[in-house]
């Protein structure tokens, strides 16, 4: 029952924050992906950095259970699937999580996204054996690996670097990248930027 309560609290917080950062608004996703307004990209980079620093820092202090990490396998299909997801993400302005939040907040087009998504997931369930036998789901680069081995975790490291210290520094790198990224990369500003 505790886990269900945590699902409700963390899930609701995630949905609310996605709404407030603009991630469930297709216009903001589109403006990020056509490189005209990168504020959302800056938020995402900062979030990855903050999450990373807190998780690895917490692990090093013994406050965060390393066993809660869950690393997905690397295989050729990850890149291929990423390409497909990226194309559909750009076209629709939704990804699975933001589509669900958008539909709940009243966006009608998101209902069509979910319907298409359910059909797409079902299509994969049916075609899965073909992918499996193609070898594109076979592990590459060690499969479930992190960039460096994290002490106490069940995953190997791609490099010999200490995974927790590397994670902490990469986290800080993501934070720095979030600040360094300009607000737009494509064309001239549409309006004057307010001074910081």
């Amino acid at each position: 029952m505790t886990t269900i309560l945590l699902a409700l609290v963390i899930g609701a917080a995630f949905g609310a924050v996605l709404d407030r950062v603009g991630a469930s608004n297709p216009s903001f996703i589109g403006a990020m992906l056509n490189l005209t307004n990168l504020n959302l990209a800056k938020s995402i980079l900062l979030a990855i950095g903050v999450g990373s620093v807190l998780m690895f820092g917490g692990q090093m202090l013994g406050l965060v259970d390393v066993g809660h990490m869950s690393v997905k396998a690397a295989y050729a299909g990850v890149f291929l699937g990423g390409l497909l997801l990226g194309a559909g993400w750009a076209l629709s302005g939704f990804c699975p999580g933001t589509g669900v939040v958008a539909a709940a907040s009243g966006r009608r087009d998101a209902l069509f996204f979910i319907a298409g998504g359910l059909l797409g997931a079902a299509a994969y369930m049916v075609t899965y054996p073909a992918w499996k036998s193609s070898g594109l789901l076979d592990a590459v680069a060690g499969g479930k690996v992190t960039l460096g081995a994290v002490p106490g975790a069940k995953y190997d490291g791609l490099t010999a670097l200490p995974g927790d210290i590397l994670g902490l520094f990469l986290g800080l790198g993501f934070v720095a990248l979030a600040f360094a990224l300009p607000e737009r990369l494509n064309g001239a500003p549409a309006h004057a930027q307010p001074a910081e």
Binding site: S43, G51, L80, G97, G117, V150
Partner: protein, 183 residues
């Protein structure tokens, strides 16, 4: 309407951290499979069956990894499924608290309207086709923007970087081609 990127990014990071601290990393796209399974099981009972120590299915995908998807289909009141329902509640309350989304934008978002006009059918068709490609791709990749990109890169997972490279390699060119006008 959009939070300042620093505040928004900090809050988003805190949520991703809270999830891995208290339970496990956030992921969403698997739940589309679970809902498909629940619907299919209702229409065609016997898709998912209980074994001596777990669950299995006549569908190879639901039966993989020791039947963990089959188990979730048979018991929807599990952490990951409830998490997605809660996301919807949180998103709805947040949107209502800031006054809701304008009716016109609910049907055809402003950026789409600036580039393709205000026809609803065209927008809904694009969202449907996009949804199909997104979820087919997410299942092929084994995760989506939440699970692979954000949770993955946060944990320094090699797969997260591979996924993000693929996603942006397609998303940016497609968006540059489709959305030439700004909202």
């Amino acid at each position: 309407m959009q939070l300042n990127w620093k505040v928004g990014g900090l809050l988003l990071g805190l949520v991703f951290f809270a999830a891995v601290w208290l339970v496990k990393p956030i992921g969403v796209s698997t739940q589309f499979v679970i809902l498909d399974g629940i619907v299919a099981e209702a229409v065609n009972p016997g898709l998912v069956t209980q074994t001596a120590d777990s669950f299995t299915s006549t569908n190879t995908y639901l039966a993989k990894s020791g039947g963990k998807y089959a188990k979730a289909v048979s018991n929807p009141l599990n952490y990951s499924f409830v998490f997605v329902i809660a996301m919807m509640l949180g998103g709805l309350l947040s949107a209502l608290a800031r006054g809701g989304i304008p009716t016109a934008d609910r049907q055809v978002p402003t950026l789409w309207r600036a580039n393709f006009g205000d026809g609803k059918i065209k927008r809904y068709a694009a969202a449907f086709v996009g949804g199909f490609i997104v979820l087919y791709g997410a299942r092929l990749a084994g995760g989506c923007t939440s699970g692979h990109m954000m949770s993955g890169m946060m944990q320094t997972a090699v797969s997260g970087y591979i996924f993000a490279a693929g996603a942006f390699a397609a998303a940016v060119p497609v968006s540059l081609i489709l959305f030439k006008k700004e909202a």
